[in-house]
Homo-oligomer: 316 residues x 2
C-alpha cells in the first residue's frame, strides 16, 4: 500500500501526521519527497538546531529529555531526530533510549523521530538533513539532532546542526577513549554527564587540558565544559547547559559563524544531492545485465574500476 | 616537500617503504595514487581479508595482536589497517591501541597502518579500500581491517572484508548496547572477549538468543559465538577463533559467498569512485566565485538545492 504524500501546506501548518508521513517518504527514498522538499525549502532555516553526540551509555537521551522539558517550559516546540543504527531485531530503534523520552510522548509540541541507518543511496547524512528540513518547515522552534558519536557519518550529521554538543561520562575506561579523538574538533560545548560519579572532576580537567593544547585563535569560541546530572530528582546543570547554548547562538550570530556553517552545510548538501542523482541516473540508463558484466569483469581482474569509471562518466 | 610516488614494481615486490608511501598518497588524495592503483589492480584479490569491529574498549586491538601472532606462527605475513577517528590532538592515532601491538613492530612481515577519518572527498570507505588494494598487491597473506563498530561508515568498511567478526565484552551496561543493533546482521563470527569476566556467559547466551530470532535460511552460515581472552599469559580461544575463520572461508568459497561479496564490493567501489570523480570534475569546471554565489543564494532561500542540482547535472 503506497503511502500518500502530504501537501506542503499540510506540513507547513505543523500537522504532525503530515510531518511523520513526509519523514517516512524520505526514509523510503520516495521520489515524491524531492518535490515536497523543493516546496518546503523557502520555509526552512528558522529553527534553532542543536547537535548532540557522545559515547553509547553517556546518557545522551536523558539529557535530550531534560532539554525538551527546559524548552517546553519556555513554550518552545521541540523536534528530536535520533540517528540509531537500524536492525531487523529491534525494528530500527534502541528501545531503551525511546523509553527514556516517554514522558513527552503525549505532548503535541514535541516530535520525536528515529532515523534508520539502513542503506540510503545518498547516504545517511542526506536523508537526515532532509528530515531536518521537514521539521524546520513545520515550524518547530528547536530541533535536536542526536547521534552516537563514533562514526564519521555521525560526526557529519551532527555537524549540520548550528551547535555541536559532545556528551561524555566518567568511568568509560581510558580518558583517551572517553572523548573520542575527532570529536574534540567539532565540539562547541562539552557536557560531562553523571557528574556525581567518581572520576567526573578528573574528566573535566582532562578535557580542559586537551582544549588547552589547541592553538588559541583570537575572538574564537572557547568550548566550555558543563557538568550535568540528567536524571530527576537529582537533575542538575541543565539550566547552565541551555544557557550556554543560548550564549553560543549569540556569539555565533554576531561573528557570522552561523552563516558560514550554513554555507558549508549547503555546499555539502548540494554535492550529496548531485552524487545521489548521478548514481540513480546511471543505474536507470545502464541495462542491469551490462552493469553486472562490468562488475564481474572487475571482480575477475579482466578490467579495473579506474578505466570503467571513465567509461561510466562518459555516459553522463 | 612532495612525497615521491612509488612505482608499481616497488609495491609489488613488497618494499615496505613503497607500501607506506602509497598509503600516504591515498590518504592525501594525491592524483598519482590513481595511476598506481590502476597498475596494481590486476595483482589484487589474493589476500585473506578479515574485518574486525566492536565497541570501544572491547579489546579489539589485543585480539588483533593475538591474531597477528597466530598467523606469523603459520609463516603468513599480516597487514593491519586500523580505522581511527583522527584528531589534531593525537596526530591521528589512538596511542593506546598502537602500543598494544608493539611486540610486532620489528617484524618485517607485519605492516600496521592507521587510516585517518578526516575528510576524504570519496569518503572514508573509498580510501580504506584503496589501502587494502595496496597491501593486497604488496603480497600480504592476511589483511585485518579493524574499525570501531558504531558508525555506518565503519560498518561499510568492515563489510568490504571477506569475513566480518564482531567483538564485544561483558560489562558494557545494557546487553542491547553491548551488541549494537546493526552489527547483528553483518557478523559472520561473534567474539566475546574477556570471557573470564563476570557476565560473559550471560552475554554469550544473549547473543545466541538474538541469533535464534533470525529466520533460518537453509545452507546459510550460522554465526558462531567464540569466547576469548586476548591478554597473555591467560590467552585463550584465539586458536578456536582462527580455526572458525578458516572454516568460514571454506564454507564461503564452496557456496560462492566470497564471489558474491566481492561483486557487491566492486559495485559499491565503482559508484564511490564515480561520485568522487563527478565532484572533483565539477569543482574544476565551475569557477569558485560562481559556486559561492549559488551556495549563498541557497543559504538565503533565494533558490533551492533541488533546482540547482539539476543545473549542475547539466554541466556534466
Amino acid at each position: 500500500m503506497a503511502l500518500s504524500c502530504p501537501t506542503a501546506k499540510e506540513v507547513l501548518s505543523g500537522n504532525i501526521r503530515a510531518v511523520a508521513r513526509a519523514c517516512r517518504l524520505i526514509d523510503d527514498a520516495d521520489p515524491r519527497a524531492r518535490d515536497l522538499l523543493r516546496e518546503l525549502y523557502p520555509h526552512t532555516g528558522r529553527a534553532l538546531t542543536i547537535g548532540l553526540t557522545g559515547n553509547p551509555g553517556s546518557g545522551k537521551s536523558s539529557i535530550v529529555d531534560c532539554l525538551i522539558a527546559h524548552y517546553r517550559e519556555q513554550n518552545k516546540s521541540v523536534a528530536v531526530i535520533a540517528v540509531d543504527p537500524s536492525s531487523p531485531y529491534t525494528g530500527g530503534a534502541i528501545l531503551g533510549d525511546r523509553i527514556r523520552m516517554q514522558r513527552h510522548t503525549l505532548d503535541k509540541e514535541v516530535f520525536i523521530r528515529s532515523v534508520a541507518t539502513r542503506g540510503h543511496m545518498g547516504g545517511l547524512s542526506l536523508s537526515t538533513g532532509e528530515i531536518v528540513h521537514v521539521v524546520d518547515a513545520a515550524g518547530y522552534d528547536v530541533i535536536i539532532l542526536e547521534t552516537v558519536g563514533v562514526g564519521q557519518d555521525e560526526v557529519e550529521i551532527v555537524s549540520m546542526a548550528q551547535i555541536t554538543c559532545v556528551v561524555t561520562v566518567p568511568g568509560l575506561g581510558d580518558d583517551i577513549q572517553a572523548i573520542k579523538a575527532g570529536l574534540m574538533e567539532i565540539a562547541d560545548i562539552f557536557v560531562v554527564n553523571k557528574s556525581d560519579k567518581e572520576g567526573a572532576h578528573r574528566l573535566v580537567q582532562h578535557i580542559k587540558g586537551m582544549l588547552h593544547l589547541k592553538t588559541h585563535v583570537p575572538d574564537s569560541w572557547e568550548p566550555p565544559v558543563i557538568e550535568t546530572i540528567a536524571v530527576p530528582p537529582k537533575e542538575s546543570g541543565i539550566g547552565t547547559f541551555a544557557g550556554t547554548i543560548a550564549s553560543y547562538f549569540e556569539w555565533a550570530t554576531d561573528t557570522h559563524t552561523l552563516i558560514s556553517k550554513r554555507k558549508a552545510y549547503e555546499e555539502q548538501h548540494l554535492f550529496d544531492l548531485l552524487k545521489a542523482k548521478v548514481e540513480s541516473e546511471l543505474r536507470n540508463r545502464i541495462p542491469k545485465a551490462d552493469l553486472e558484466q562490468t562488475i564481474a569483469a572487475i571482480a575477475q581482474r579482466v578490467t579495473n574500476p579506474y578505466d570503467e569509471v571513465e567509461k561510466l562518466f562518459k555516459l553522463l
